[in-house]
């Protein structure tokens, strides 16, 4: 019980700490923060429910004012900004990512985790992100989708990293991979 609880809180802290990693820029000039990598890893390492719980805890703490997002952002103002959908979408993204790793028991964990991150961290997250952006900016869904497109290459790189890191965690500390227990 304690270990699961602390793992959830520690992964929340890890996602927050990943926000302090300097974001790198794609050739298009779009900055890529590492926090969504943390969200994908929360799903692949902790599993669906615990991964979602880690993200939910982060969301609660951010909304009540802790500056845990990249660039020291925090507070309820996040819910009024254009990235509200992506912020809310982190929760189902972590859940779906974890669910795929739990259910799909193929031999290559690297592949499974990368595909899971692709489904959760890109497909699911962008559905929420695009809807949120369309709502906040009062634009149509295709217009909002067009605004979100430049971020996809960076997130695709993070899916590959998620696969590699999850597999490395499974090799180094197999007992920590709660998504496969």
């Amino acid at each position: 019980m304690e270990h699961r609880f602390v793992s959830i809180a520690l992964f929340t802290a890890l996602i927050a700490a990943l926000g302090l990693v300097p974001s790198f820029q794609l050739m298009s000039g779009v900055p890529i923060s590492m926090q969504s990598l943390g969200v994908m890893l929360a799903g692949t390492v902790l599993g669906a429910k615990r991964g979602a719980a880690a993200v939910l805890l982060l969301q609660v703490l951010v909304v009540i004012g802790l500056p845990l997002l990249a660039g020291g952002r925090g507070g309820p103002g996040i819910l009024a900004g254009p990235s509200v959908g992506f912020f809310i979408g982190w929760l189902p993204a972590a859940y779906v990512t974890g669910l795929v790793v739990e259910r799909w028991r193929a031999r290559s964990l690297t592949l499974v985790a990368a595909v899971a991150a692709l489904l959760g961290g890109i497909v699911v997250m962008y559905v929420f992100g695009i809807i949120g952006m369309a709502w906040a900016l009062e634009r149509s869904l295709p217009q909002a989708a067009l605004l979100s497109l430049p971020f996809i290459p960076g997130d695709a790189v993070k899916c590959v990293l998620t696969g590699l890191i999850t597999n490395a965690v499974a090799r180094a500390r197999p007992s920590y991979l709660m998504s496969r227990q």
Binding site: F11, G65, P76, L79, I165
Partner: protein, 214 residues
């Protein structure tokens, strides 16, 4: 690393109860989203700016500094909608966004984290499936461990730099995550040794025992 946005110099707004400030925010949001009126959005935005200025020039400047990223985004969005032929719409959405961001900064800059946490614990009390004491404990753990994990990440980056002429990249994420998971195991062992996780029921029991002098 500073893990709170609170403004260090006390103003009149610091003395306002946290629940009043927390309740005001959704009320203003609902009014702004429901009305869709540009004059009302402008009025509420002006009132929010006055609210920030009433706490002092430095306070307002500090809030503006925190809001800079969203200010840039709003400027770009207004310019974009101007070119798209809907300048008033861009202005209304921009003012709405700015008002809510500034109001939330007002809340976080003038309210102690503990006070907000207390309001959250009161709000979740009617829900039996949410343990307020555990939520508060998890929040403290996250605040503490974010600081520690950030330091460990910096140490890993330094170790990388000592061995390579290349910049540290994604390769340090793997040991970083292992370190975090190892820490989770150590912390949970320490917690178990100290009687386990806190809970609302155990806190009530302790209070009853204190009252009875046992």
């Amino acid at each position: 690393m500073l893990l709170t946005l609170i403004y260090p110099t006390e103003t009149w707004a610091h003395r306002l109860p946290a629940n009043v400030k927390l309740a005001a925010l959704p009320v203003v949001s609902i009014v702004l989203f429901a009305s869709g009126s540009l004059p009302l959005a402008a009025l509420l935005c002006a009132m929010t700016v006055l609210l920030l200025l009433s706490c002092g020039g430095r306070f307002a400047k500090s809030a503006a500094r925190s809001a800079r990223p969203i200010l840039i985004f709003i400027a770009v969005m207004i310019a974009w909608l101007w070119f798209a032929g809907t300048p008033f719409e861009g202005l209304r959405i921009g003012l709405r966004m700015l008002t809510l961001v500034l109001l939330s900064l007002f809340l976080t800059m003038t309210t102690q984290f503990d006070a907000i946490m207390q309001v959250i614990r009161t709000l979740v009390r009617p829900f039996p499936f949410v343990d307020g004491a555990r939520l508060a404990f998890a929040a403290i753990l996250v605040v503490r461990m974010t600081h520690i994990l950030a330091q460990k990440g910096q140490m890993l980056a330094m170790a990388w730099r000592a061995r390579s002429h290349r910049r540290p990249g994604w390769q340090i994420f793997m040991p970083w995550i292992i370190v975090a998971l190892d820490d989770a195991a150590h912390v949970s062992e320490a917690l178990r040794a100290r009687g386990g996780l806190p809970s609302d029921t155990s806190e009530c029991k302790t209070k009853d025992e204190d009252r009875n002098g046992t």
